[in-house]
Symmetry: C2
Subunit: 537 residues, 2 copies
Amino acid sequence: MMADPQVPVPPMKWDAWGDEAKAKPLSDNIRALLQQALGVSADEVAGPDRSEVVLQPSALGDDDLRALRDVVGDGNVSRADADRLPRAGGKSTLDLLRRKSRTPQAAPDAVVLPGNDDEVAALLQVCSRRRIAVVPFGGGTSVVGGLDPVREKFSAVVSLDLRRFDQLESLDEVSGEAVLGAGLPGPKAEELLAARGFELGHYPQSFQYATIGGFAATRSSGQDSSGYGRFDDMVCGLRVVTPSGKLELGRAPASAAGPDLRDLFLGSEGTLGVITAVRLRVHRLPEVKRFEAWRFDDFDTGAAALRAVAQLGTQPTVIRLSDEAETGVNLAMTDKIGGEQVTGGCLAVTVFEGTEQQVAARHELTSAVLREAGGTSLGPEPAQAWEHGRFDAPYLRDSLLAAGALCETLETATSWSNAATLKAAVTSALQSALAETGTRSLVLCHISHIYPTGCSLYFTVVAAQRGDAVAQWQQVKRAVSDAIMANGGTITHHHAVGVDHRPWMTDEVGELGVRVLRAVKNELDPHGILNPGKLIP
Amino acid sequence: MMADPQVPVPPMKWDAWGDEAKAKPLSDNIRALLQQALGVSADEVAGPDRSEVVLQPSALGDDDLRALRDVVGDGNVSRADADRLPRAGGKSTLDLLRRKSRTPQAAPDAVVLPGNDDEVAALLQVCSRRRIAVVPFGGGTSVVGGLDPVREKFSAVVSLDLRRFDQLESLDEVSGEAVLGAGLPGPKAEELLAARGFELGHYPQSFQYATIGGFAATRSSGQDSSGYGRFDDMVCGLRVVTPSGKLELGRAPASAAGPDLRDLFLGSEGTLGVITAVRLRVHRLPEVKRFEAWRFDDFDTGAAALRAVAQLGTQPTVIRLSDEAETGVNLAMTDKIGGEQVTGGCLAVTVFEGTEQQVAARHELTSAVLREAGGTSLGPEPAQAWEHGRFDAPYLRDSLLAAGALCETLETATSWSNAATLKAAVTSALQSALAETGTRSLVLCHISHIYPTGCSLYFTVVAAQRGDAVAQWQQVKRAVSDAIMANGGTITHHHAVGVDHRPWMTDEVGELGVRVLRAVKNELDPHGILNPGKLIP
């Protein structure tokens, strides 16, 4: 029986996405789809109860525990299983499958909750001296193994939970800059800003749980990226604590004073330092919001239309395009999945925010481009339905996994001229790799982030679990990652690298690029305690 | 008597900006202004003729010369004074004053012109082995000492001229991506793109001479930055040759695969590697162009108007604002300088490019914002006059320096809320420091680059030369740089660091930031041959 937690618990369920109250049982439509298309029986198999889970015992000795408590106080360190379990990993399909295991599970040896930069600095000193690995922990939403409790050569590994960095430290209303604590979850950050009339506008799928520091450390990209940019674009400054000292980066809105060192910490995934605060570009709350959905005959036509919008710069806040398969199962509207098709061909969604005049102008220019490129308006409803369900897909995955389906998402990006080739290669790699494991599969794709020179490609795959589902997905993931790299994609557009994409980092940045990352790490983290086994090969 | 050059000569005058045919003799208005306001007699003093200049003898030995020739061929290496002189520095006021010296001048010991990446790699090997410093050379337009022939601990220093990297290597018309050789000067790059219907849209003041590689290595920012972004924003990929090997960076339009290593080489000023090609975002040639100038009562009102435009995102291609002093002497229109004032208060210039529909929408939204913020339209003419003369200011400086005036520009950037404070501090620092040297001064300022969170501030200062003008300006530069850092500015918004701003880099990025830069340099350039004495303290 697992005793009660001793420190505050992360808000997400320990063995599934998010909030228990929002669980999405499979509809009859989805059950039918699973049975007909994939041969999944869809009988739910209950996983172990939290009290049945066994963790590997904590490897953190009493001396080490005392040293950590000396820094942050007794109440901010815990070796209790009930505190270690919810920080044992992130929320990838592999993570969720592993949480269902009845054999002893890996977990951090302790949880530490520092309260300010000096405590983080002192903790990193203690851990460097005592050879304890440190995994920075924000919302716990990593889907790439970024939170795996990798111990490597170290005596123990601790989860450094940043939840106490939860303040809107300052807001410059004239410049539109807010300093936000790294541990603030998306909704809390937006609530603090909204009280002052401002918005960040960063809404990734993980929005409800992921934190400001996590967004920065993983180069997150939100669903409103067309309007407000990727998270990187919003970062004006960073405060970072490393074993070698502290950094304050970002003196000006733009500078030519050498390489932009902010870009070393954006995407550093806790391997180079602990981001404790982020200075962010914020904007006034939009006055008006307008929705419009569109239909295109096929994906290539729709993609060309999105390309025209990106290259002309007509400024939709949201623009996304589902392919024929995703449109066919209504994946863009979680309440209608598997029901009667909302439209044939491909569904695209647009949203516009701003002042009344801006929204009118942006909507008009964008609509003209989409119509010219072969689009037919479907009115606002399908776009509103998309927005209504936009954070729900991970709940559906929980139910699918419990029903014996294998379900995961993966993503990449490439130039417009290579998008069709890459999409076909990834789809084919997923289908053949899954066929080799003995299951049919459903591969769905959408474009959700556009740039003048290219776009993201986001894939959802559903198949039947066969044998050891962890091993099954690892085999498929290897094949599809190889296909991404062989066909000119990036190994990740916004999920980050973690453990799962690390084998492809050398292909991504080259051997010399990896050497540069190692050199930076050696300078900042000479003992290598920061998130070992992640990102840098 | 200086013998003829043996390798192709950089197109700029050796002792002044640009093209001899475009020299701008001082108008009567300007002469009057100099005499009345600054006590400058304005009698031109001729500098030495090229044949009278004496260079310090080349320190490159015959063995070293043979080793360089073995790599690039006999015709692509020269120790001739006539080849060394035009690469002896950039085009800062200090450079131009030094070129007027009749005592032996410092210069690179030889000039080398490699023809491809492998030759660059081989050169860096030879120079690492033989302990020869290497200064990469593009257009020769540095205004921060980035090309100074600093030898430090090395036996010799060579200028590595990239002019043979002069091809449009490829153009992806669908994605809008062009791979351009690092040695291509701005106009040639635009000419190659225009022949295919595309444009880069990067027009810094140095446009007519500076090169694609130089733009990347210095984080250049062009006058159309509001519409097309800073040069950084346009860079999709980079090919870099270092003593430790080659790098190909930028796999996708956006990625979360770790830190963005492109940002280590953007702004690296030749200290980390030699950029040989840049993959750039390009756009279709605009169909329509529209001009409109505006008047504001004062600088603060105008700045607030520009801020509203940036924060609302109404997308002018160009937007800039002169302060009262700059407006008063008509500096924004070089042909009218010192003549009757075009407008009272502060002059702002807007330009819009794009399709007809886009330009109409952008112009309408922007004009509404400017009007609402207190602007009065002056019609298109003053904006057209600005564009007509926009590359001419450096020619004027040549004439001013020859007439005994001290003239230089400097720039910074800060948040909107700090702009007035920083502007006042810089102005006051310039005026007092120059007063200490015994001269009155004229300090003019404009905003030429706007961002949602802040803006650039660009200063032009004119005073009388007193005593050793080099020492005089160095003293003033120290005072004003200290003032910039003490008042929250960046040491440079788009001129880069070089030798001149290097003492302030520790303030800019912190001691640990400098250690990170050194660690990267040690990994890529273990012998430290690349542009020693620049950027990294």
